[in-house]
């Protein structure tokens, strides 16, 4: 196809570089510097999608971030991205895009039947209709709505692109490089301030690129170019294009998304696709400009109806005609500027001005160019389905209530201007209390809450001279405050044409007998009639009206619709707009990619990985690892073709019959020193600690203040005032904070220091009937006999020249020891244990066998100490001292905690001794009882008992004390299982605890 709507010359594009691209499978050409939108319009393509609700044809409405319609699915370098605005996407070689919201194709769309049914799809339709019957929701309504609605499709592939985060500090952050941004940046930079100037688009200059002005004897664009090139040379200035400041957070932190590679066919090697900047700025100058708002009229969503400023931008920046028979519909002078541009390029526009007799320099110029101007005229309705073909126009009475006779005039586009809305999003996000400015019918920033100021059009200042003056001054003053320099910049001579006052007119009344849809929100298909219904139904707050009708809730956040919506509500409610108020502006200003938010923290970089000093040994010996918090722990050591179940059974069995060794480095370790150490332990543990002798360990349980078990572990008295505490892997950090809390805030009088030593010690648990024989070989000079090192005893030994701590503690129910050495010697220790263990048939065992061993002997762990259980529930009530107070003791007297039928830990065995019991299953009395079947308890942990060679589980069961011997059912709706079981003691192995003491 030819670019039949491209002018012979003009625009800021590079006509020497032709670029080919595809839209909906068809090949087109554009030029370097085009957006997808400008290239499509150049090729005469105006139908780009279907609307969200009624599936009406959609074209282009804007030329940038305000675009509500032209959303496409983008394909780039084998990846796809949904919801890209065609007006923002720069053209690159090989770009492919497809329409969204249409099925089967954009030209023939089944959903458009909604358009014929629109009388049945009013505001709140979804709320009202799909509520009943309830069972229809999942099966019928939701799948249908999902298929018919929804924008683009997210890729399910792993995103290969790299996204980065950057943290930056500056004196002044300036958001937007239009006249106010350039002027303020320039004067601040001259004072030596550290300035960041951010521009959302690829080109700097904002409206200076399209307006006919003269600054210091240069055109607007020339002036912008010279300022930018000077700023770029200054070491204290960072100038960024394709960078949108989208969020203003507390303490003057702003976040900016820099699109580094989105405009390229593929990301350059070692470059990120996007970079997110977290910027802390001493002062923020918001120079985000303003967005033209439409006038509302019948069928104003027809492709070809667009903002007049967008039409001008397509002409001046891209050399593209949005139409060859343009109709300009305006209530202010901006429409004239667009018409004049058309005329200059040999196209005859017609201007419909809602004003009766406006006079200004711009209007004078249009008249001198013989442009057809019709005053007190409005567009009643656009005609044409997939593209504007003509317009019904009429004269309007002075009170703007009555329409004259309808005339039809031919046109292929309607360029609308309903005046300008300041972009106050960032100011509002910062906490600024915005105020309504009657002169411009829009909200402007009011009193600042943080260090921000808004300049130029974003502040409702629409003349260039005033904007520049104010911006030079603000930039100078704010930077002077910071740098104490003052290098005044001379103010350039400004030539601009004066405008006449705009007309407050914003919505064309319906002609008698016609029921045209007049859209307010173009992306969410919200029409005037929808707001009227919402108000009739009693919705008053603008926030409620918004949610009920979805006005302004689309991805464009109502950039072109909010104010007209407010005008309508205030008109019907007979209130002034400021009394209605506006809805909250929330970041991001415009959608940003999830990838940019996540940055580099993906996959294994999402959290640090902690490895024990013995990790490489585990790797070499076929360990299969599992994540335990941020630790990587061996789950089992694979031999041959073994699976998890077979391997863990073998490893656990070997512990019960011979000896095994397990890496327990990950256990939390806290070193406690000081004369009051015993007193601290006595207060935080439930049992007594004052009389623990040196060289002895004791098991202890800690509670939270509410009586719930916080953690368990052993603590050993190393010397008079020195203790070594262990915690579970998961709770290590919490326990340390818990101790620090009491020491610093509650008992500052206690003379104790606590510090984490988790990473200072490597730990190996040696367990099994032959563990003592092995230990004797490892420590030939120590007395490790049952008398020399009894159960819960402690020794310091010499492991072939390495200092070691030996604890006789057991987590497996077997005779067992834990050996600790300094981390650097961990691997040495491990290799010695394996070497000397050979004659005792030692095998390493992983977390799976570790669990099996602790479950079948009924030792509680994280799945029982789950933040919901008290000591009694875990059969730990024997550890509650009656003689002393401790943290959480008072809570244990609560009624529910002392109930006769309080839940308690039990063992569970399937009656068939074969069926494995899924963890998390429920225990019930009657498997056939009607729902909701009363739940008596839940399975906390399951294993295959190697001692009894059948499945065994632990459960927390109501009245568990009296349930031993009972027959119940385990039900797992998730796995669709019902298993008859018998309740047994939780101590399934060695209930008297003889082995650990042997």
């Amino acid at each position: 196809m030819t670019q039949s709507f491209r002018l012979e010359s003009g625009g800021l594009i590079n006509r020497d570089k032709k670029i080919s691209f595809k839209f909906n499978g068809k090949n087109y050409f554009g030029f370097e510097g085009d957006t997808l939108a400008s290239a499509l319009i150049a090729n005469g393509v105006h139908l780009i999608g279907r609307s969200f609700k009624y599936h009406r044809p959609r074209g282009f409405f804007g030329a940038g971030v305000d675009e509500p319609y032209a959303i496409v699915q983008l394909y780039r370098n084998g990846e796809t991205e949904p919801n890209i605005k065609a007006t923002e996407q720069e053209l690159f070689e090989g770009l492919e895009a497809k329409s969204v919201n249409c099925w089967p194709s954009v030209n023939f769309d089944v959903g458009a039947i909604n358009n014929l049914l629109k009388i049945f799809l009013p505001a709140g339709f979804y709320y009202k209709t799909f509520m009943w019957p309830k069972s229809f929701w999942y099966k019928i309504y939701e799948p249908f709505i999902r298929k018919a609605a929804g924008l683009g499709t997210a890729s399910i592939k792993h995103d290969k692109e790299r996204y980065e985060h950057k943290y930056e500090y500056c004196d002044l952050l300036i958001t937007g490089s239009g006249p106010s941004g350039l002027a303020s940046a320039y004067s601040a930079a001259k004072n030596g301030a550290k300035v960041i100037l951010a521009e959302d688009k690829s080109r700097f200059g904002g409206t200076l690129l399209t307006s006919e002005v003269n600054i210091g004897n240069q055109s607007g664009k020339e002036w912008a170019d010279s300022i930018i090139s000077e700023l770029k040379e200054m070491p204290n200035v960072t100038v960024k294009n394709r960078s949108q400041v989208f969020g203003y957070y507390d303490h003057n932190m702003l976040v900016m998304s820099e699109r580094i590679s989105d405009h390229l066919p593929k990301t350059k090697k070692f470059h990120p696709k996007q970079r997110l900047w977290y910027i802390r700025a001493k002062e923020v100058l918001i120079s985000s400009g303003s967005i033209e708002r439409p006038i509302v009229f019948g069928n104003n969503d027809t492709p070809g109806v667009m903002l007049s400023s967008a039409a001008k931008e397509y002409l001046k920046v891209y050399g593209v005609l949005v139409g060859k028979k343009p109709l300009v519909f305006t209530n202010n002078d901006s429409g004239y500027e667009t018409a004049i541009e058309f005329k200059k390029n040999g196209i005859d526009p017609i201007i419909l001005d809602t004003r009766k007799e406006p006079q200004s320099e711009i209007i004078e110029e249009a008249k001198n160019m013989n442009i057809n101007i019709k005053n007190s005229y409005v567009v009643v309705a656009a005609k044409g389905y997939k593209k504007v073909k003509s317009a019904d126009i009429a004269k309007i009475s002075d009170d703007k209530e009555k329409l004259g006779s309808i005339e039809n005039i031919e046109c292929d586009c309607i360029c609308v201007s309903g005046f300008w809305t300041p972009t106050i999003h960032l100011a509002s996000q910062s906490g600024n209390k915005t105020k309504f400015n009657k002169d411009i019918d829009a909200f402007v920033p009011g009193i600042s809450k943080q260090n921000e100021k808004t300049l130029g059009a974003a502040n409702g200042i629409y003349t260039l001279e005033e904007t520049l003056k104010d911006s030079f001054e603000k930039g100078n003053l704010l930077s002077k405050k910071i740098t104490n320099n003052e290098n005044k910049v001379s103010f350039p001579n400004v030539v601009e044409k004066k405008s006449a006052v705009h007309d407050k007119f914003w919505c064309v009344p319906l002609p008698k007998g016609k029921n045209y849809k007049r859209f307010l929100d173009f992306q969410n298909d919200v029409a005037v009639s929808d707001i009227e219904i919402a108000l009739k139904e009693g919705y008053r707050s603008i926030e409620h009206v918004k949610r009920y009708t979805t006005l302004g809730m689309a991805t464009d956040q109502g950039k072109t619709s909010n104010l007209n919506g407010l005008q309508l509500v205030s008109k019907i409610e007979n209130k002034v707009v400021p009394a209605v108020g506006h809805t909250t502006f929330r970041p991001p200003y415009s959608p940003i990619s999830i990838g940019a938010i996540v940055g580099r923290e993906v996959g294994k970089h999402s959290k640090p990985t902690r490895k024990s000093p013995m990790h490489s040994w585990h790797e070499k010996n076929n360990a299969v690892f599992v994540d335990a918090g941020v630790w990587l722990r061996p789950r089992y050591y694979k031999q041959g073709k073994e699976n998890l179940f077979e391997a863990s059974k073998r490893e656990a069995k070997n512990v019960r019959t011979n000896v095994g060794v397990c890496d327990v480095t990950t256990l939390g370790k806290i070193d406690i020193k000081g004369p009051d150490a015993a007193e601290l332990l006595n207060r935080v543990y439930t049992n007594a600690w004052l009389k623990l002798p040196v060289g002895k360990a004791r098991y202890g349980v800690m509670l939270r203040e509410d009586g719930i078990v916080l953690d368990d572990g052993t603590t050993t008295r190393i010397s008079e005032n020195h203790y070594h505490m262990t915690t579970t892997t998961a709770q290590a950090a919490n326990v340390l904070s818990h101790l620090e809390y009491y020491l610093q805030l509650v008992w500052p009088e206690l003379n104790v220091n606590v510090v984490s030593t988790t990473e200072q010690w490597a730990g190996a648990a040696i367990a099994g009937p032959k563990s003592r024989d092995l230990l004797q070989k490892l420590f030939p000079n120590s007395d490790v006999s049952n008398e020399g090192l009894p159960f819960m005893g402690y020794l310091e030994g010499d492991l072939f020249g390495v200092k070691a701590r030996i604890f006789r503690i057991s987590f497996s129910g077997e005779l067992a020891y834990e050996v600790n050495v300094e981390s650097d010697n961990g691997n040495f220790m491990w290799e010695k244990i394996i070497e000397f263990g050979q004659e005792f048939k030692i095998q390493p065992y992983g977390t799976e066998a570790l669990s099996t061993l602790r479950i079948e002997m009924g030792h509680v762990a994280g799945s029982e100490l789950d933040g919901r259980t008290i000591p009694y529930d875990n059969s730990l009530e024997g550890l509650l001292s009656k003689k002393k107070d401790f943290i959480g003791k008072r809570s244990l007297t609560r009624e529910a905690f002392t109930a006769e039928d309080r839940q308690k830990i039990v063992g569970v065995v399937p009656l068939d001794k074969k069926t494995s019991i899924p963890e998390g299953s429920h225990l019930v009395k009657d498997s056939n009882a009607p729902l909701p079947n009363p739940k008596l308890g839940y399975i906390s942990a399951s294993c295959w008992s190697v001692e009894h060679d059948n499945p065994f589980s632990l459960a927390i069961l109501k009245d568990g004390k009296n349930m031993i011997g009972e027959k119940l059912f385990v039900m797992s709706p998730l796995k669709n299982k019902v298993i008859p079981v018998q309740i047994v003691s939780s101590h399934y192995v060695d209930p008297k605890g003889e082995r650990v003491r042997s």
């Binding site: 507390d250 303490h251 906490g431 809450k449 207060r683 203040e705 509410d706 950090a733 340390l736 904070s737 620090e740 809390y741 610093q744 805030l745 509650v746 500052p748 002393k884 107070d885 401790f886 008072r890 809570s891």
Partner: protein, 80 residues
């Protein structure tokens, strides 16, 4: 100035733990363990510098604006 993500929140700083070993009524105990005012506005809070010096500190913060007015060390008393 340190980044907020180095700190961990510890709740209302004005709560005093009843002394160990002293009798506490059910009501007082409930107030200590459970009952907190969910204030909008200025609030004295505990924060711990977990990824730093491990000190618990008292911070007077506005719960709606996150503005910080005052900080105290663990052993300094709040004067309301």
């Amino acid at each position: 100035m340190r980044s907020q993500n180095e700190f961990s929140y510890g709740g209302d700083a004005s709560i005093k733990r009843p002394e160990l070993g002293k009798d506490v009524s059910d009501k007082d105990w409930d107030n200590f363990v459970y009952n907190r005012k969910s204030l909008r506005g200025k609030h004295w809070e505990l924060w711990q510098h977990v990824s730093g010096c491990r000190q618990w500190i008292k911070v007077e913060r506005d719960t709606s604006t996150h503005e910080i007015f005052n900080t105290l060390k663990a052993n300094e008393e709040i004067s309301l």
